[in-house]
């Protein structure tokens, strides 16, 4: 049929791929360019990018506001630490921690994903508290409140710094590859349907519960990896450090900052967030968390689609002479109201929707 000619051209992500790979190379080159402080910073950037991308599976594509990130990071770090203390080689401990975290997430997800909206959010945050208590009370395995020491990697701080940087970068590249696949696959399409109208998704033949569980498991899997690597890196973990509520709030904030349900939004958001945190509000020790709160509120109010949803070309275009309205202001207001009328074709990435929903739910 002649219809194929009318099919829409997919917006290519190719330039973005190159930018990302260049960015990953820059992070990888950090040990050769700068001192250990920057190596550490690059490791954090890679780590948070991997976490934000992980969260994106459930929070971005599927539209389920999960706050379970810290639960899975903590679970991964304890699993890795316990295994390493039992004599497992470091990398084997990381792999096992990943698989174990994924398994736990699949079992828990099948249960708590029956809840929606606020209920799911509360359910997922409860998970952190439950695991926190387990880690605190099961002293024979976890060391209880005293925490757990993890064998320090031999070879000196410079060598260790590189190993953990490359481990985090490898994890990031892995999550990125999985995200690329999900974004194009039937799975990703189904998840986007679920995020927009779960009942209608069910009606068109999507196995909603199975899809959501897969998304939840994917979102947990690499948190487990990151947690285990983190435990080896800092070589000491305690319940309150491993199951940190602050982490669970930061990661979704990063993904939102960049753009939900997109391949690169969470990466941009995580990088921007870590760098801002490091350069600006780390200097205000007392107000650190308060500033994070303000950032989240501003984000919801003024940038519901994240950085990647701003129409940058419109920012540069000069305003038409007849209309005095500044283009920057109108682009911003379009972003605020979630107005999509003029950007018809761009609505194919439905990233703005879940955040707008969060914003609304958050305010109600």
């Amino acid at each position: 049929m002649s219809t194929s000619a009318k099919l829409p051209a997919r917006r290519g992500l190719r330039p973005a791929h190159f930018v990302f790979l260049a960015w990953a190379l820059l992070l990888a080159a950090m040990p050769f360019l700068a001192d250990n402080y920057f190596v550490r910073l690059a490791t954090f950037v890679a780590m948070y990018s991997a976490l934000a991308l992980s969260w994106n599976f459930i929070g971005g594509y599927t539209g389920y506001p999960s706050f379970a990130t810290a639960a899975f990071v903590g679970l991964g770090s304890y699993t890795g630490a316990v295994l390493q203390n039992a004599g497992a080689p470091m990398v084997a401990a990381w792999v096992c921690a990943t698989l174990f975290t994924g398994l736990v997430a699949a079992l828990i997800g099948a249960a708590i994903l029956r809840m929606k909206g606020h209920y799911f959010a509360v359910g997922s945050i409860t998970l952190i508290e439950v695991l926190h208590q387990v880690a605190s009370l099961w002293s024979s395995v976890t060391g209880g409140g005293e925490g757990l020491n993890v064998p320090i990697l031999a070879g000196g701080p410079d060598f260790a710094g590189r190993v953990f940087l490359y481990a985090m970068l490898a994890t990031l590249l892995l999550v990125w590859a999985v995200t690329l696949w999900v974004d194009r696959s039937k799975l990703g399409f189904g998840l986007r349907c679920i995020s927009q109208n779960e009942d209608a998704a069910d009606m068109v033949g999507i196995q909603v519960n199975r899809y959501k569980t897969v998304a939840f498991t994917l979102s947990a899997l690499f948190c487990g990896t990151v947690g285990a690597i983190y435990a080896s890196w800092v070589s000491y973990i305690s319940p309150s450090d491993a199951f940190s509520v602050l982490l669970t709030l930061k990661v979704p904030a990063m993904a939102m900052l960049g753009g939900l349900g997109t391949v690169y939004g969470p990466i941009v958001g995580a990088a921007a967030f870590v760098l801002m945190e490091e350069t600006i509000w780390a200097h205000f020790l007392d107000y650190n968390q308060a500033i994070l709160g303000v950032v989240i509120v501003l984000l919801i109010l003024f940038l519901p689609g994240g950085f990647l949803k701003i129409d940058y070309r419109r920012l540069w275009r000069r305003p038409p002479p007849a209309r005095p309205a500044a283009p920057a202001a109108s682009a911003l207001s379009a972003a605020v109201t979630g107005e999509k009328a003029e950007k018809g074709e761009k609505a194919d990435k439905a990233a703005a929707a879940p955040l707008a929903t969060f914003a609304r739910e958050g305010r109600s």
């Binding site: 099919l7 194009r184 349907c193 927009q196 109208n197 609505a347």
Partner: protein, 257 residues
């Protein structure tokens, strides 16, 4: 011969309210059957039971020889049961094309997203929405959204299409277009159960009509016969009017079935 759909003694109650009472009927392949009844008669509940949104309290549903009483909506969708909603249910932020492609990909025969979009385009052309394919679903007008629902259901390659008030809120010209569409769909061999308030649509399309009232099937048969059934007249217009009409009919010597 075996029927395409066989509903046996189907009942559904919500607490004390019995929304469907002991309903039995059959649909044969290629039929267009109208389902009518006053507001609150239980028409949508019946559709929800058939498509797995609700589970019956009693009774059974057999579709293409299989008992499907307990199937989930996604299973219903894949087994060849498609429906449109009285209140349209699009994926709001997706394009019209993607909405239809979802039907083709998850319930229909499409094997990839690209193929699903090609098929979706054909269905959009069929319902006359091809030029809107790239707009977000929310940008459509109500009649267009109804057509989108129709295209989405068709993309699911249904054997039985349940149309829940696809014509509500349309004007006369739009209804005529919708009628023509439905005739073409039926000509493709898709069986249609038409839930409808507009008698014009029911009488001009249906080969058979089912009438629900307070959850019970009070009458079924050819459209004209059903509309003259005193029980149906009573359900719609009250007992007084039904009695008067019956008396009138006797005077003029019209026979009732």
């Amino acid at each position: 011969m075996s029927h395409l759909l066989e509903v046996r003694n189907l009942s559904k109650s919500f607490g004390g309210l019995q929304a469907t009472k002991d309903v039995s009927f059959t649909l044969d392949e290629g039929e267009i059957v109208g389902l009518i009844g006053p507001n609150g008669a239980g028409k949508t509940t019946l559709v929800n039971l058939i498509t797995g949104v609700l589970s019956p309290s009693a009774g059974s549903i057999v579709f293409r020889g299989r008992d499907v009483s307990r199937q989930r909506p996604w299973q219903a969708a894949r087994s060849g049961l498609a429906r449109t909603f009285q209140i349209v249910q699009p994926f709001p932020q997706m394009t019209v094309l993607e909405n239809v492609a979802a039907g083709a990909l998850f319930a229909g025969a499409a094997s990839s997203r690209a193929q699903a979009e090609r098929e979706a385009m054909e269905h959009l052309e069929f319902v006359g929405l091809a030029d809107q394919a790239l707009r977000p679903a929310t940008a459509l007008t109500l009649p267009s959204r109804k057509r989108l629902e129709l295209a989405k259901s068709l993309a699911m390659k249904p054997k039985l299409l349940l149309l829940d008030e696809v014509n509500a809120g349309l004007n006369t010209a739009e209804i005529d277009k919708a009628l023509a569409l439905m005739r073409t769909i039926a000509a493709r061999g898709i069986t249609i159960l038409l839930i409808e308030h507009l008698m014009k649509v029911v009488t001009s399309l249906s080969t058979r009509v089912l009438v629900l009232h307070h959850g019970e099937l009070i009458s079924q048969g050819a459209p004209q016969a059903v509309l003259e059934d005193p029980k149906v007249v009573e359900a719609y217009l009250g007992s007084k009017f039904a009695a008067r009409l019956a008396a009138q009919a006797q005077e003029t010597g019209v026979e009732h079935v």
